[in-house]
Amino acid sequence: MFEQTDPNQIQLNCEGQLKHYLTTEGLSREILTEILDTADSFVDMGEQQVKKVPLLRGKTVVNLFFESSTRTLSTFELAAKRLSADVLNLNISTSSTSKGETLKDTLMTLEAMHSDMFVVRHSDSGAAHFIAEHVTPKVAVINAGDGRHAHPTQAMLDMLTIRRHKGDFAPLTVAIVGDILHSRVARSQIHALRTLGAAEIRVIAPQTLLPRHIEALGVRVFTDMEQGMKDVDVVMMLRLQKERMNSALLPSESEFYKLYGLSEEKLALAHPEAVVMHPGPINRGVEIASSVADGPRSLILDQVTNGIAVRMAVMSMSMSGQATEKQLQLKSGE
C-alpha cells in the first residue's frame, strides 16, 4: 500500500551523487569507496605545511550540536576550516530549545541566514533525516550522530583506518565489541563493512546490550568474547557509558570488564596482526585495558587523524552534490 522506496535515497541527487550524508545504510560501494579515496588524499594534505584547500570557500557551515561533544565537534570544525569554509558552532542544548523553540524553527532561522551546510548531532534517532527531508532540503545535511541510529562519519573514518592498515576488506573478520544496543557507531559500521565486502562481521556483547534481531543486519552474534575474538583481524571496541551501570543492564563495571573488556589476554586470541580501534572517549579499565589502548596494535590516534580527512571528504562531496542539483534544477526551469 505504501511504496517501500529506500528512505536513504534522499541522500543522493538525481545524478546519484551524495547531497546529504545521513547514514552509511543504502549507499553503494562506489560512493563509500569515493569517500575513502577522497579522504585518503586529504590525509596526506594534513601533513603538509599549508593544510587548506579552497573547496568550500565562501560557504557557511553551521555545526549544530544538540548533544554535547568535544571530539566530533572539533574535528568537524577543523575539517570545515581546512576546506576554507566559514564556520559557526552552535551548542543548542543550552540555548534555544530551553526557550521552547522547536527544532524546525531553529533550523529555519539558520537557513534564513544563508547557511550552506548543517552538521547535526541530535539525541533523537532520525533527526538528520527529518531535517534533510522536511526542514531544509536545500542545505546539505551531515549527520554527526543521531540517537542510536547512525554516526556515518565515525563509521567511515573507521573504514579508512582499516583500509590504510589492511588494504582490502574482502578477507577481513571484524569484531564489534561492547554496548551494541545504544550504539549508533556500531550500526553505521555494520552497514559500511557489509557494503565494502568484509568477509565476516561479528558483534560481541551480553544479551542486555544487544538490540533485538541484530543478526538481521548481517552479523554473527557472540555472547562469549573468548569465542568471538578467535582469528579476528580488526577489533572495534565501543564506549560503555558510565550511566548504563546504574540501570538494570549490567551488574558492575568489574564484571563487564572481566567478560567483555579488551585485555592483553583476550587480544591474544585474535589474529597475530589484529588491530584495535575505539571511537573514543575511552573508559580505561572498563572496556579496554590501558596497555592495549596505548599498545602497538592500537590505531586509536590514527582514527582521530583520519576523522578530519573523512569529514572533509563528505563535506566537499555533499556540497558539490547540492551544487550539481541546483544547476540541473535551474536548467530544467529554463
Binding site: 500500500m1 545504510e25 533523537d124 532520525g126 533525516h129 527529518f130 533485538r212 543486519l217
Partner: protein
C-alpha cells in the same frame, strides 16, 4: 419527520438482512423495512440506489480531546468527522483534562454533545481518580451520569491490589471495564515495535511482552472478580489468543482492534515518518496476520478507529519527539472496506464488526435497523473513489499516513435519531 430511504442495499447484520429494499423512518426510529408502515407518509425521500444502507457505526475508541486539548480536536469538529465517516456513536476515553473522574466532566461532555446534535458521544469514566492508579474513581456516580464503561486508558494501575479492587467494585455494579493493556515499565521510552526495524532505525522498542504481560494480569483478575471486560486496540497476535482462550473458558470478555493494525506493520516506520508513530505500535507481519485471522474467526468482535487527532506541530519533529496516534474516524469505512476488497470477509460480516457487535459489547440497543430501534443510519457508496485531503477532512487533526491517498468507499448520508445530520 417521516423519511423513506429508497432502493438501497439494506444490510443489517443483527437481523442477517441483506437485500435491496426501502427503509422507513418515523419519529426518530426505524418504522419498517420493505413495506411502508400503515399510514406512512414520507416527508422526505432519500434515493439510495447503488448505495449501502447500514446501521450507523459504533466506534469503541475515538479521542475527541475536549475538554483540555482543544488544539487537537473539539467535540464539534470530531463529532462532525464522525458523521462524515458514518460513525453515529463513539466511545471516548477519559484522558481529557480534567480527566473524566467526576460527574461534572462527564455531564459537560454529554450536554455539549446534546447541544451539538451530531454523533452520539459516550464517555468512558476513569477507573481510578486522576487515572493515577491509586484510588477508585466514583464509578457508580459516573455511570449514573452517563459513562458507558470504565478504563484507566494507558495509564498504569501498577498496584495489583488496587486493580483487583477496581474490578470488584465494577462487578458489584455490573459495569463494563475496558482495558488498553500496556505494561508501563516495558513501554517506557519506547516508540515502536521492538524488532528488526527498530534495531535498524535505532528507535527504542516496545516489546510484545509490554502488551501480553498486562493482558495476562488483567485476565487473571477478571476471572477472579467476574467483571465484564473488554480489551481495546490489541496489537499482538498472542494477546488476542489469550483473550480468545479466556472466552472459550467462559469468561465474559471481548476484544477489538484498530483498523490500521490490520493494514500496516512496523516496517512502515522505515524512513522515520512520524505519521506511523502510534501507541500501541504497529507490530510485525505475523501479528497483523494473526489479528486478521482472529477478526474472521470471531476472536476479535469489533473494529475501531482509535482516532487520535493532533495539531500539526505534534507530528513535525524527529520521530521519537512526536506524539503518537493517527486520525481514523473519516477513514474507518474505506480502510475497513479494504478487508472486503482483499477477500478477507464479505461486506455484511465486516459491517457486523462496525455495528451490532460493538453495540452488543456496550449493551446498547442501537447498531441495528430493527423496527423500533433509534434511526442511526449511514448510507455509503462502496465503490466511490475519493481522495483524502486536508481541506476536505472535518477532523481538526490531519495526522494520518493516508492523507493524499485515493480511497474506495464513501459515506454519503448519515442520520442520527432519524435526522439527516450529514450529507455529501
Amino acid at each position: 419527520m417521516n423519511i423513506k430511504i429508497q432502493g438501497g442495499r439494506v444490510i443489517d447484520p443483527a437481523q442477517q438482512l441483506d437485500q435491496v429494499t426501502d427503509l422507513y423512518i418515523s419519529e426518530g426510529k426505524i418504522a419498517g423495512i420493505g413495506n411502508a408502515p400503515e399510514g406512512f407518509n414520507a416527508e422526505q425521500t432519500i434515493d439510495a440506489t447503488g448505495q449501502v444502507v447500514s446501521p450507523g457505526f459504533v466506534d469503541l475508541c475515538a479521542h475527541v480531546r475536549e475538554p483540555g486539548y482543544t488544539i487537537k480536536g473539539t467535540l464539534a469538529t470530531e463529532t462532525q468527522a464522525a458523521l462524515a465517516g458514518g460513525v453515529t456513536t463513539l466511545v471516548t476515553p477519559p484522558t481529557t483534562n480534567p480527566v473524566v473522574d467526576t460527574t461534572a466532566v462527564a455531564e459537560l461532555i454529554l450536554e455539549r454533545c446534546e447541544d451539538l446534535g451530531k454523533a452520539k458521544v459516550l464517555p468512558m469514566g476513569a477507573l481510578t481518580k486522576g487515572l493515577s492508579g491509586q484510588q477508585l474513581a466514583p464509578m457508580h456516580a459516573l455511570a449514573s451520569s452517563g459513562c458507558i464503561a470504565f478504563t484507566n486508558a494507558r495509564e498504569p494501575v501498577a498496584n495489583s491490589l488496587v486493580l483487583m479492587r477496581c474490578l470488584e467494585y465494577a462487578a458489584t455494579h455490573d459495569l463494563l471495564v475496558q482495558f488498553q493493556p500496556q505494561d508501563a515499565s516495558l513501554t517506557a521510552g519506547g516508540h515502536m515495535h521492538e524488532d528488526t526495524t527498530s534495531t535498524r532505525l535505532g528507535l527504542n522498542g516496545i516489546p510484545e511482552a509490554a502488551e501480553t504481560i498486562e493482558v495476562a494480569r488483567c485476565l487473571t483478575l477478571v476471572e477472579q472478580t467476574g467483571v465484564r471486560a473488554h480489551f481495546g486496540q490489541l496489537s499482538c497476535e498472542r494477546s488476542v489468543r489469550m483473550v480468545m482462550e479466556a472466552r472459550e473458558r467462559g469468561l465474559n470478555v471481548s476484544a477489538d482492534v484498530a483498523i490500521h493494525h490490520l493494514l500496516l506493520t512496523d516496517e512502515n516506520v522505515n524512513g522515520f515518518n512520524s505519521a506511523f508513530h502510534l501507541i500501541p505500535p504497529l507490530r510485525s507481519q505475523l501479528d497483523r496476520a494473526g489479528l486478521r485471522q482472529a477478526l474472521i474467526s470471531g476472536g476479535i468482535q469489533a473494529l475501531c478507529s482509535d482516532h487520535q487527532p493532533h495539531e500539526a506541530a505534534a507530528k513535525d519533529a524527529p520521530f521519537a519527539a512526536t506524539e503518537p496516534g493517527m486520525t481514523g474516524l473519516e477513514t474507518l469505512l474505506p480502510l475497513s472496506l479494504m478487508l472486503v476488497d482483499q477477500g478477507l470477509m464479505e461486506l455484511p460480516q465486516l459491517l457486523e464488526k462496525l455495528t451490532s457487535q460493538p453495540a452488543q459489547i456496550l449493551g446498547l440497543e442501537s447498531g441495528t435497523l430493527q423496527t423500533g430501534a433509534a434511526a442511526d443510519i449511514c448510507l455509503f457508496d462502496p465503490d466511490a473513489s475519493w481522495t483524502l485531503t486536508e481541506e476536505d477532512s472535518f477532523s481538526k487533526g490531519k495526522n494520518t499516513p493516508f492523507m493524499g491517498f485515493t480511497l474506495k468507499g464513501q459515506v454519503t448520508h448519515t442520520l442520527v435519531d432519524g435526522k439527516l445530520v450529514f450529507q455529501r
